[in-house]
Amino acid sequence: MRLLTHNMLSCNIKGVTNGFPLKLEADKWVTKEVDLNADFLRGIFPKIEWSALLAAARVLGFAELPEQADASMLSSDDFLRRFHHALLELHVEEGALVCPETGRKFPINKGIPNMLLHEDEV
């Protein structure tokens, strides 16, 4: 699971209102290089929940994202490289996603988060 996917996921238990972002716990992760697409990064930047990306990247030991980010930074190649790396090159293999409201843990095995709900959560 890339952190771009993490940025899309929220707790899906019925009745939960503050289910985003899910807290990331990671036991194993890998880095896979991919080509940087600056146009893509500039287009997606306004849609990314920065604080969620920042927190998740830190869990994976990547602390090179600025605390705050705004669109003016998109002209910096250095910023784009860091943003690209955090968003698309880090893959969580084993760990969990934790609902901020209920504490429910959704396990991540072999890179796939399992967000199937129990009967009483639907």
Binding site: R2, L4, G19, I44, E49, G111, P113, M115
Partner: protein, 205 residues
Amino acid sequence: MKLKQLEGLLGGLEQFSQPKVELEQYPTGAHIASRMIYTAESSYEDISGKIVADFGCGCGTLGIASALLGAEHVLGIDVDSESLEIAGENVTDLELDIDFLQCDIRASNLQGLLVDTIVMNPPFGTRKKGVDMDFLSLALKVASRAVYSLHKTSTREHIRRAALRDYNAKGAEVLCELRYDVPQMYKFHKKKEVDIAVDLWRFVP
């Protein structure tokens, strides 16, 4: 990548080994899948450089086709872990990178805006009535750019009405009518293979 080449690569994918009838698991054939995603890219530029989600991805055919045609990020979602395992192997074999999520589409709750395009071959709702419409209504909520989907031709008017009137789609267009070969996979199939007519739709959310 040329259409023929795409179809060839998709033809080599592993499909369901023990399909589950309750989930209406039928493989999306290479012929249909390649035309669907190729059209999405060549006529509408909805794939390359985009974020694509494959709803009910099964063994990953449509998501893999999207990745092959240059999608920046692909997320395949399915409820069934065995399908996801096969999908993962298919992705590894082709040296692609696709994210997967195990989840019931109807409870998927994806944050809006990030997904550009949704590609799907939803259950036709013959076993569980209405599930095809659940997929469509959710896809139209999540996608910001386009939804590509296959539905039985016999339901064309119903689909069009629901999409435009109930799910607030701005556009609903049948791009072509295709023959969907349903191989004899389940015990209740009496014929060796049947062809059903399906529409390839493009919806604009």
